[in-house]
Symmetry: C2
Subunit: 137 residues, 2 copies
DNA sequence: TAACAAATGCACTTCCATTGCACTTACTAT
DNA sequence: ATAGTAAGTGCAATGGAAGTGCATTTGTTA
């Protein structure tokens, strides 16, 4: 089991207290979070720091951005060996219309989508909306 | 060939000069447009009017909203007999990373997506990103 | 044509995303 | 160890898009 420090270092991210806390927060959360979620969890920290931290994590492919159609971008941890930036290796996301939470369905790969001649598909964003397991139970 | 008036009337939308112009604009554009696009095309009209007009069109299922991941909602005309509000009848959208335009691929239906047990799929947002036919040529 | 309903225009407000700059903290090379 | 540099953090402010309240105008109907 890697420590948080090791995770950050292996991705060439400088280790700071703030970054470790935010990483820990993301690990504990099982759903995608908004910047506001992080803000509420760390009221003592500045919004900008949180914003830039998440941007750094994004660049270094520790988290990926999710656009679930709520208009607010969310973030979630990448899986081990996640290739968020490589086409056709993206998983889909599920957005619950009831609890408003968004989760990664990492085991569900996106099917190949055919596009017309002349179009080149580079990547695919797929969000399924409905009722999640917790809300439908 | 229906006139614009007839189209609007058939959808129970009051015919006004502004609405006819905006409808005409949407017909002529072959890609999804943002509110700003409409704004730039009708500088003399007020933003609110354009905003509410498009909202009216949306309610009456003349246009549908597209979330292509740019963060700005776009709008495009619905096809004849479009069932934008009915699940599983949605077409997919293609967003060009080069020219930044988004088009409807109406003939391409979204494949059935399997979700885990306990999850209920209500609808699906699928955006393919890449290079469009104009830009790849 | 009077009366009512809907459409339009103006002025705000809110919310999220983003940036500039000053200050502080952490790494690096002597 | 320590000075110097690069990166991280905090504060303040900006910008863009979305949305709302209210007064005015336009259109429909009795």
């Amino acid at each position: 089991m890697e420590t948080i420090e090791q995770v950050l270092e292996s991705k060439n991210i400088r280790v700071t207290a703030m970054r470790m806390l935010i990483y820990k927060f993301l690990v504990e959360k099982e759903v995608a979070v908004t910047l506001s979620d992080i803000e509420n969890a760390f009221v003592k920290a500045d919004r900008t720091t949180l914003y830039r931290t998440i941007k750094t994590f994004e660049e270094k492919v520790i988290v990926h951005q999710i656009d679930d159609g709520t208009g607010i971008t969310k973030y979630a941890l990448c899986e081990e060996g996640c290739n968020c930036d490589i086409k056709n290796d993206l998983h889909l996301h599920f957005h619950c219309n009831n609890c408003n939470e968004t989760i990664c369905l990492t085991e569900h790969k996106i099917p190949q989508i055919k596009v017309p001649d002349g179009f080149v598909s580079e990547n695919v964003n797929l969000v399924v909306k409905g009722i999640c397991d917790k809300c439908s139970g």
